[in-house]
Symmetry: C2
Subunit: 725 residues, 2 copies
């Protein structure tokens, strides 16, 4: 693999909060935003460290409440940054003066080591000038530690220099915007306990006020300039010494952040972060690598996958939040995005992480069973639409709890995981039960109605992925995915993964086989739901560009009564099941839905790209793909400052593999086809499939599958079965 | 008319808060609950005086907010009762001790004078015993004053007696129940200013903190026992004197409450409340009287109409709140109930009040225009679903703002008012513009779709009257009423009441003539909306009686995805337009909807009674009617303590007139038919119609219309035209 890093030259703006997100680093457990280290001069108002799954609750207040509403907000806790490092000269201190000029000269995020290397130009209020190099590196081996190296060079100052490493600076709460449901910050009530000071080490515990979760932190001095004296206090390390003009001094610290409700490991000062990470990332890139003959795109995709990897919970207790641990958007909640947009990448390239992410769903199955009862559904389980701890935290059920499809999405991901990995153990121990309980939910939820002369299984008053269309009957996406869920449950029973009654099995099969899938005979298009084609189309011609996203500028009632999509909905289902539609049908559906889709959701463009690929609309596929692959690097949605669009990071992998190379699994077989846009001459990527490592090589009208590890297999390429040896 | 009063023998329980509602008195401007006068021993925690339209606002907090949501709660202010009157003996005082035994021995509400006469047995903590007679009377002539007479008899006490008339005792806020949207109390921030003390008179102003409304109050001594000395302070009147065993002393006060933002009139101590009210109520009963050969029913109906009269705003600035001014339920808000349930009684018997109530809607037309724009509708006006000041205060739009039908309901009431009164002036000056603006709303809101081979005018994503079915397409009730609204606007243009373009007129007519009205060809029933007949029926068989009303015990998603009605919806439309359906169709619809209606709303049974009458299901009609007529007197809904069900009060008049006597107007003619239940042998009532006063006399299979005042007319009786001379 070529050596790749991301620098300031690769990103959209130098706006501070945007950069904090883009250059965030983490290990899936904790994430550190790239905030300016100086507490006095910081522009950052957003949290600077987040721990995946570490949250507070607050009662949800409703204008008018009702039975069964979600009771509590869950909000990831805003923590002090381990990068905080303050300086003072004899006349001027950053923390107090607050208006040092601190200019970022260089930033470089290294995808091979995980290092974040920065250079700052500093001018104090007394015009004393320094240059500061900061290297931050999170170890990726599960030790949950970050090393910070500060190299300070005096450009014109001679005299005493003081440093201070404040540990408990909490950032101000961000704008608690009532108007934007995508951002939400609420106050935490952290308690700091068990503080202990040791020679060069400070340890403490942080406990949340409402959820009583505890993490331990430890901060240790690794290196200080020789002539500097240090002291440790309950507020952190501080010290002082002399610096001369032209002199460079180095300060180095390691911070550990324990797992939730777990103790700390030992810190070894000899631990080599770069060496460790290089080995781990080599292994990661071994399967995650993408080769594409477009430097910008290649870097963008590499960046996306690296960030996705950094954000993924890896212990079965945490998942991947909508913004990862790169920002506070969506309160650190997990959604269906994990299963439908992010998991395929992990399933095909890092199955051990995929397994942990799916194990999280198994762990919260009891909460999901309880939730189904609260919704009046007498059997099965309903996973929360947005959650950290498994309980529903959506305060707006029409675009929350009503998105029941999350149940089928999780079952779909379990099926894909099994189809690709063949991991029988996971299926038997965890996966099958989740599929069974979600299938039971559909069976209890749904009902039989006469449709076109036949009794069909129907699902009323649901919301599909498209949040601009709410509480509808027979949403195609939901019904299609529920059909798969029910059929997979029946398959699992038949193949001995589950014990269930013959009757239940028969009911699953009957519902799956007769699931109603709406279709408009006159327009000859696949209907999004029972009613939508008759509704008036959104008045696009009188909607100025400034009024997007619509959800921030129009009442939900205005949006719901028009044909307008926030994102791929019916098309997402068609993308997932390539054998459902003929090309002509797919083309009609694509044309129909493309006209009414705003892409106000970041989950949309990747799917449109894949379907455009499948339809050989290669220019269109390329354009959608560019927007996908570079979404946050060009700040397409305008809100990257709140965190990366994690689902879209995954979507950028889907666009390449599902899209350009037509990847899917059907009847246990891998299917591929060359759907490369004309602007791309070469695409090479790797996947793991049924205990093999394969490299897929696409060139203009050529496609080749190379077996790198494992036994020969049969693959379907461009519709023809081929043996790969 | 027989002399009628309501006593404790006529009501459901002696529960204190229930009695406070039932025996509430008022004049439409202010209402006083029948709370125990002693502030120390009061059990009442609900407001004890309410002024119609006097309210505070509070920001609505949403779990997740969105564009265009209602911004502020509006809450009627809880005021101190003018009935407050404290006593103290030399050893024991009520206000401080708080545990005197105060037992209500008698209560009598007089429908001919408006007097509320009560007798209390009092035992102090020192076992001193008294009997207290309290007479409260609100003048009904618009002077907004109440006279309180307290006659105290000592049964075993001799010695000094002190009295105190506290003016500013504010009651504690009631249970601010988050779980029941039907109750809501929030704190007010009243300021008391302009206090002035005069010999025997105390005056002051009360100003709300958020809405800056002011009312003035004045309290005056009319009579005190001869040997008593009095003093007035900023806290109210107090005084002392001697009492002997067996002696009776009288205290008498008058309290005035000004109109909002208006000054007080003079108080005349010679004013004769009983004389004044007797004349006014004689005039009222002249047309409002009902004669029915069932004492209980007759009293019940008399009570209902008397309370409805007491609750009605009469100045064009206030309307009738869902609970009138008898309790704090629904925050003192005005809903569609006024137009659809209460106005017919006023239109037919007290047209001057009907005119004032409709004038209120004209007054808030600017707010309604603004609201339509906020909803993205480019023309016309949308009246607020629940409001005091005309701005939307519903914090749950699916069962609030989405009930657009309120627009057509108001237009319907204006049409009925005109059809019955022939009041050209009101139509020209106010009514026609409201009809035009509501019609414009429908035209801009609706859209054309192909239905059964024809282009039909459709209304998507609306909620009808039935709040157990939300956000549906083509709600029959909404579409049918909108059709009438559009047609009436066209008629007004054609007949010169409005100037509008030929084109607009044509568009109104086109939409009215082609309004889509859903009908299920297979079931042969009128559909509630596009989708409902296919949904599963609510699991009535597994729903215990304790789980009603459903809205307090099931998630809205559970309710919405089942066929279940809270109240008459399609049937209400069919009730309003008797010529729309043949009897056989009506019978099918009645049977279909009766099975799925819970009557969880108090607006339901009266409509079922009327339709049962029309279908000659006389026993059923009678049973539904008994539940309607006596709803609050038997506390059928269990929440009369929060206030009377004002809509149902009106519904009890509808059941008699629209139901038992088949009253309706069509093509300018009055229609009547004898649909009397077998259990009722006689029903006589009066209405005003086109400048006439008529008496309708029904006996077993007989019906007679007597012209009491005015010119001869033609009436359609039992389908046959008849001249009435």
């Amino acid at each position: 693999m070529e050596k790749h890093t991301l620098t300031l030259a690769d990103v959209a703006t130098k706006e501070r909060q945007y950069l904090e997100t883009i250059f965030a680093i983490g290990d899936g457990h904790f994430g550190v935003r790239d905030s300016i280290p100086f507490t006095g001069s910081r522009a950052n108002k957003l949290p600077v460290m987040l721990v995946n799954g570490f949250f507070e609750t607050n009662p949800i207040v409703y204008g008018e409440s009702a039975y069964g509403y979600a009771k509590e907000h869950q909000t990831i806790v805003s923590l002090a940054s381990p990068r905080n490092f303050d300086l003072a000269t004899s006349k001027s201190s950053s923390a107090k003066d607050g208006d040092w000029s601190v200019t970022l000269a260089q930033t470089e995020l290294d995808f091979e080591t995980g290092e974040l290397r920065e250079l700052y130009d500093i001018t104090t209020v007394e015009q004393e000038k320094f240059r500061l190099a900061v290297v931050s590196i999170v170890s990726l081996d599960g030790l949950h530690q970050i090393k910070l190296s500060y190299q300070l060079t005096s450009l014109n100052y001679e005299g005493e220099l003081r440093f201070n490493r404040p540990l408990f600076v909490t950032t101000e709460d961000g704008a608690n915007s009532d108007d934007d449901p995508r951002i939400a910050l609420r106050k935490a009530q952290l308690k700091t306990t068990n503080m202990s000071l040791d020679k060069g080490t400070i340890s403490w515990n942080l406990t949340t006020g409402t959820t009583n979760q505890t993490i331990a932190e430890r901060d240790a001095v690794v290196e200080l300039p020789k002539n500097f004296k240090e002291a440790e206090t309950k507020n952190g390390f501080s010290g002082h010494g002399q610096i001369e003009i032209g002199q460079t001094v180095t300060f180095e610290f390691v911070r550990q952040i324990s797992e939730i409700d777990n103790g700390l490991n030992e810190i070894s000062k000899q631990y080599d972060f770069v060496l460790t990470n290089t080995a781990i990332l080599k292994e990661f890139w071994q399967t995650a690598q993408i080769k594409i003959d477009d430097t910008k795109l290649q870097k963008g995709i590499q960046y996306n996958l690296f960030q996705l990897y950094q954000s993924a919970g890896k212990n079965g207790l945490a998942n991947i939040a909508a913004k990862g641990i790169t920002g506070p958007g969506y309160e650190g909640h997990y959604f269906w995005d994990t299963e439908m947009y992010m998991l395929p990448f992990f399933i095909y390239t890092q199955p051990q992480i995929a397994k942990q992410l799916l194990s999280y769903r198994y762990r919260v199955l009891p909460q999901a069973r309880k939730r189904a009862r609260e919704l009046g559904v007498t059997a099965g389980a309903l996973f929360a639409w947005r959650t950290i701890n498994g309980e529903e935290a959506s305060a707006y059920y029409p675009a929350g709890t009503a998105q029941y499809h999350i149940n089928a999405d999780i079952a779909h991901a379990i099926k894909l995981y099994f189809d690709v990995t063949g991991d029988e153990d996971f299926l038997q121990q965890k996966g099958a039960l989740v599929v069974l309980e979600t299938a039971r939910f559909w069976l209890a939820y749904g009902s039989w109605s006469l449709r076109d002369g036949h009794q069909k299984f129907c699902l009323y008053k649901v919301t599909g992925p498209d949040e601009y269309t709410a509480l509808v009957d027979n949403n195609y996406y939901t019904n299609r995915l529920a059909k798969e869920n029910l059929a997979f449950a029946a398959w699992l029973i038949k193949h001995g993964y589950l014990t269930a009654s013959q009757k239940e099995n028969a009911l699953f099969e009957e519902a799956a086989n007769n699931m109603y899938l709406p279709y408009d005979q006159q327009l000859m298009i696949t209907e999004q739901d029972d009613e939508s084609p008759a509704m008036p189309t959104w008045p696009f011609e009188t909607t100025p560009a400034t009024k997007y996203p619509l959800l921030l500028n129009y009442h939900p009632l205005m949006i719901y009564r028009h044909r307008v999509n926030k994102q791929a909905d019916t098309l997402l289902a068609e993308m997932l099941f390539p054998n459902d539609q003929e090309q002509a049908q797919l083309q009609r559906d694509f044309d129909y839905y493309e006209k009414i889709t705003t892409h106000d959701s970041s989950l949309s463009r990747s799917i449109f790209s894949i379907l455009a690929s499948r339809l050989r609309l290669t220019d269109k596929a390329y354009d959608y793909y560019m927007d996908t692959a570079l979404m946050d690097l060009v700040d397409l949605q305008g809100n990257a400052k709140d965190g990366l669009h994690e689902a879209n990071l995954g979507g950028s992998w889907l666009g390449l593999t599902y899209g350009f190379s037509g990847l899917y699994v059907s009847d246990g077989k891998l299917h591929l086809s060359n759907q490369l846009p004309e602007k791309i001459d070469e695409l090479v990527y790797r996947i793991r499939f049924q205990k093999r490592l394969l490299e897929i090589q696409l060139h203009f009208r050529e496609i080749k599958v190379v077996l790198i590890e494992g036994q020969p297999l049969t693959v379907v390429i461009n519709g023809k079965t081929k043996n790969i040896n």
